[in-house]
């Protein structure tokens, strides 16, 4: 399985070790883990990620395939959680394998930039004052644009 949309937590290190264990004839692996952030300026008590699991799986798989094709990745795997997540917990993880590090890094960066704009999730932040839905962030769309210009 190359895309996992799950409710429970996961062990980022164990997931990466398992991913690397299948590697043969490649020289580079890259892993990125997104973590629930609560800052001093903007404290949250929890992050709720809502999704339509079937749709999210389909869409993320399409993004994954485009990354594999574009960067000739040997493999790419994405884990994405939904449900109620606490600060410090992993939200998602992108892992890539390629012959050389350039493609592995670029593939992971491309996947992240597309997931930040195109993964079909809705975010709600829980704070001490209540909860509210998060608006899309323009900076994420800008980050994605660089791949459309190259």
């Amino acid at each position: 399985m190359s895309v996992e949309v799950i409710t429970g937590s996961f062990d980022p290190g164990a997931a990466y070790s398992e991913f690397l264990a299948g590697a043969r004839g490649i020289g580079a692996g890259v892993v990125f883990t997104g973590v629930v952030r609560s800052t001093h300026e903007r404290p949250i008590t929890a992050l709720i990620l809502e999704c339509y699991v079937e749709l999210a799986t389909n869409e993320i798989e399409a993004i994954r395939r485009s990354a594999v094709d574009r960067f000739a990745l040997a493999e790419a795997h994405i884990i994405h959680r939904h449900g109620r997540l606490l600060p410090g917990e992993p939200i998602m993880q992108v892992m890539t394998l390629a012959e050389h590090r350039g493609a592995a890094f670029d593939g992971a960066q491309y996947l992240m930039d597309y997931l930040k704009t195109d993964a079909p999730f809705w975010k709600k932040e829980e704070t001490a004052d209540g909860s509210k839905w998060v608006e899309p962030v323009a900076a994420d769309a800008v980050a994605r644009l660089r791949w459309e210009q190259t």
Binding site: Y52, E59, P120, F121, W122, W133, E135
Partner: protein, 83 residues
């Protein structure tokens, strides 16, 4: 046919889905959304800025003019904040 609602749209409607049997003249996703909005004031108000929504037929995002023929579910998706 099931109509699925998500995020703040689901909260505003106070339900996550409807089971509907639209008449034959409801041929596309746009037709369906118009037909649903005529029957439900809360939905009509929530969908006022129609262009911000995306739609999915059987768990695939599709353009609004997509025909409904054979569809089991249509999802109305508010703007997504992604991962």
């Amino acid at each position: 046919m099931k109509v699925l609602y998500f995020a703040w749209l689901r909260e505003r409607l106070d339900r996550s889905e409807d089971e509907v049997a639209p008449p034959a003249e409801v041929e596309t996703v746009t037709d369906l959304v118009d037909w649903l909005a005529q029957r439900d004031e809360v939905l009509a108000a929530a969908l006022e800025k129609r262009s911000i929504f995306k739609f999915a037929v059987d768990a695939r995002i599709v353009p609004p003019q997509t025909p409904l023929a054979g569809a089991d579910s249509v999802a109305i998706l508010p703007p997504m904040t992604a991962g």
